[in-house]
């Protein structure tokens, strides 16, 4: 083990240990007697720990190494942020409406886990998954269908590109009127939002195969469909996965925002907006954590699929 790394690990260890000790103090636990404030010693210790934390992150960032060092630095930074969030919010007695400490958010998560699971099923498994699948699938199919019609392509492509500048979520009230309050109206919004990025990306991807490869297929006397299946669709895969990844985030946003416009009595967006108006912030934060984790996990899953499907592509091999 080289010296800077050992040094860094020592700093991190000392920092985390003293952080744990400081966390045991009554001031940090919010258990001070009524009317007293944390003493000067507590603030001094907090300040010293902040210095230690910054130094440990700096040392960690200076360590050169593979990708795990970068992830470890980011993780350490995240741990410190959450730690000081907890410590300072409790010590300063910040009102719960402004910013609940992480411990309360975890508590709310545990206490309302069934409610949140219901919201997850309602929003993610129904509206997002179905809308995302339908919208992306339709976009893909339309793109392949108009592949041989340059007239339609020249007509659709500029309009489809323009939709990225339009706040498409705003169709949510109309979707609610047409499809009711339940998840189909949210799925409809998601379909509309995910359709165009997929259409544009697939059309771009189908043009991505090189001239040399196309001529090779031609010299093999491969027909249109053979060329499409063997060459042009595989070379469009990185574009298609790019659109799938963008669409995953768009679909979550679309479903959650559509629920702000009107929804049944469950769903992540419904939970966030109603509990925010009831000032029950810990539950709001835990609903947001659910949405955030869903977004990142969906992205990670898609990246894994892309590695499997487009393993030959330079962008995958390089990573």
């Amino acid at each position: 083990m080289n010296r800077p790394l050992a040094n860094t690990l020592l700093f991190v260890g000392v920092g985390l240990t003293s952080a744990a000790v400081l966390m045991m103090q009554p001031a940090a636990l919010g258990q001070l007697p009524e009317g007293t404030t944390p003493g000067a010693l507590f603030w001094l210790a907090t300040l010293a720990l902040a210095g230690l934390a910054i130094q440990s992150v700096r040392l960690m960032a200076a360590v050169s190494g593979g990708r795990w060092v970068g992830s470890a630095t980011a993780a350490l930074f995240g741990v410190w942020i959450v730690y000081f969030w907890q410590l300072l919010v409790v010590a300063f007695e910040v009102p719960r409406v402004l910013l609940p400490p992480p411990s309360l958010i975890v508590q709310a998560f545990a206490r309302h886990s069934e409610v949140l699971w219901g919201d997850f099923v309602q929003t993610v498994l129904k509206a997002v998954l179905i809308g995302w699948g339908l919208g992306s699938g339709l976009g893909f199919m339309v793109a392949v269908a108009i592949d041989r019609q340059p007239f339609l392509q020249r007509g659709l492509l500029p309009l489809a590109s323009l939709t990225s500048t339009i706040p498409l979520v705003a169709v949510a009230p109309i979707a609610v009127m047409w499809f009711g309050f339940e998840w189909p109206s949210k799925a409809a919004v998601v379909v509309l939002m995910t359709f165009f990025p997929m259409l544009v990306s697939t059309l771009a991807g189908l043009k991505a195969s090189g001239k040399l490869e196309r001529e090779l297929m031609y010299s093999y006397a491969a027909g249109y469909s053979r060329t499409l299946l063997a060459l042009r669709l595989p070379s469009a895969l990185p574009f298609i996965f790019g659109a799938l990844k963008i669409n995953a985030t768009l679909a979550l946003i679309g479903a959650i925002v559509a629920e702000f416009f009107g929804s049944p009595t469950s769903g992540l967006g419904f939970r966030i907006s109603t509990e925010a108006s009831r000032m029950n912030m810990p539950l709001v934060w835990s609903a947001i954590v659910v949405a955030a984790v869903t977004g990142s996990v969906a992205y990670a899953i898609l990246v894994q699929f892309e590695r499997r499907a487009a393993f030959w592509h330079p962008s995958v091999r390089g990573a």
Binding site: A74, R154, L159, T165, P167, M177, A248, A276, I288, A292
Partner: protein, 297 residues
């Protein structure tokens, strides 16, 4: 002469398909309106005692009071009358709502861009921030950050901020993420040989930033700005929902859906689409202006 002819040909080649698509969409819209409104028209508009002809049915579906799908000309008329029949400061005028939404979007856009630039400069110059903070900002791109909007509204509301500020803050943090990510990439885009030349000129980091890194990052900045302003508009409109706001395109959509006024929803929808297009076009115009002044293509 030849330039003119080729321009005409280009217009024919690129413009005609788009025009055909638009006309087809309009026709589909009319067909959809007839199809969706027919049931309501038979029930409410057409006489029940005497038989009616299909011409009557067609005319009735085109001109319903509260249609399931308003026809394009109904939306167009409502849109137009809201622009000319009411004074600019009346909440019945759509331009009033556009002004409200555009104001918070632009404030948020400007603040978010400045914040994103500042943070990107810091990240590029600090290895610690690069390793510790940048992964989180990149990861936040996969997270529906718009979901935090109600929390921001509650926090700023209880701190006593009202009006433009909360909406601008939401638009700001939506603009800020793409700008930061793109600018970190852009500020790092100069070649090694160029940074070394700045070094041999004994340029300090400020000069290197101003003369080399910022100009080199412009092609990365503007696409991010286009993404940012579109996201900021969505943020500003969503921010108008839960506050019971009476002004802004988002509030207009919500009141329209409360009262089942479909024509009003559709014209607000058309207006927000136009606003989105106008804002993006403005950013693209600034891009062209800046790049031309710098002599870049």
């Amino acid at each position: 002469m030849t330039a003119k002819a080729s321009q005409w040909q280009r217009l024919q080649r690129d413009g005609l398909p788009v025009l055909v698509m638009l006309v087809a969409a309009l026709l589909l819209w009319y067909a959809g309106a007839v199809w969706l409104n027919a049931a309501g028209a038979i029930e409410r508009v057409l006489p029940t005692d005497v038989p009616w002809t299909w011409q009557q049915l067609l005319a009735a579906t085109m001109d319903m009071q509260r249609p399931v799908l308003p026809t394009p000309h109904q939306v167009g008329l409502d849109f137009w009358s809201s622009l000319v029949d009411w004074p600019l400061d009346s909440p019945r005028n759509l331009l009033f709502h556009v002004a409200v939404t555009a104001e918070s979007t632009l404030w948020g856009f400007v603040m978010g861009t400045l914040l994103g630039l500042l943070l990107a400069v810091l990240i590029v110059h600090s290895r610690t921030l690069d390793r510790a903070l940048l992964p989180w900002i990149v990861a936040s791109q996969t997270v529906p950050v718009l979901a935090i909007a109600p929390i921001v509204l509650v926090i700023l509301g209880s701190l006593g901020f009202a009006g433009v500020a909360p909406k601008a803050v939401i638009a700001m943090y939506l603009c800020f993420f793409p700008v930061t990510v793109a600018m970190v990439q852009g500020l790092r885009s100069p070649q090694r040989i160029e940074t070394e030349m700045m070094h041999t000129y004994a340029a300090n980091w400020w000069q290197a930033l101003w003369l080399l890194r910022l100009p080199a990052s412009l092609p990365f900045l503007f696409p991010a700005l286009r993404v940012g302003i579109a996201a900021g508009l969505v943020g500003a409109m969503v921010a108008e929902l839960p506050t019971g706001a009476v002004a802004g395109l988002g509030a207009r959509l919500l009141t329209g859906s409360y009262y089942g006024n479909t024509v009003q929803i559709w014209s607000a929808l058309v207006m927000s689409a136009l606003l989105g297009l106008a804002l993006t076009t403005a950013v693209a115009g600034i891009e062209r202006l800046v790049l031309r002044r710098r002599g870049q293509p």
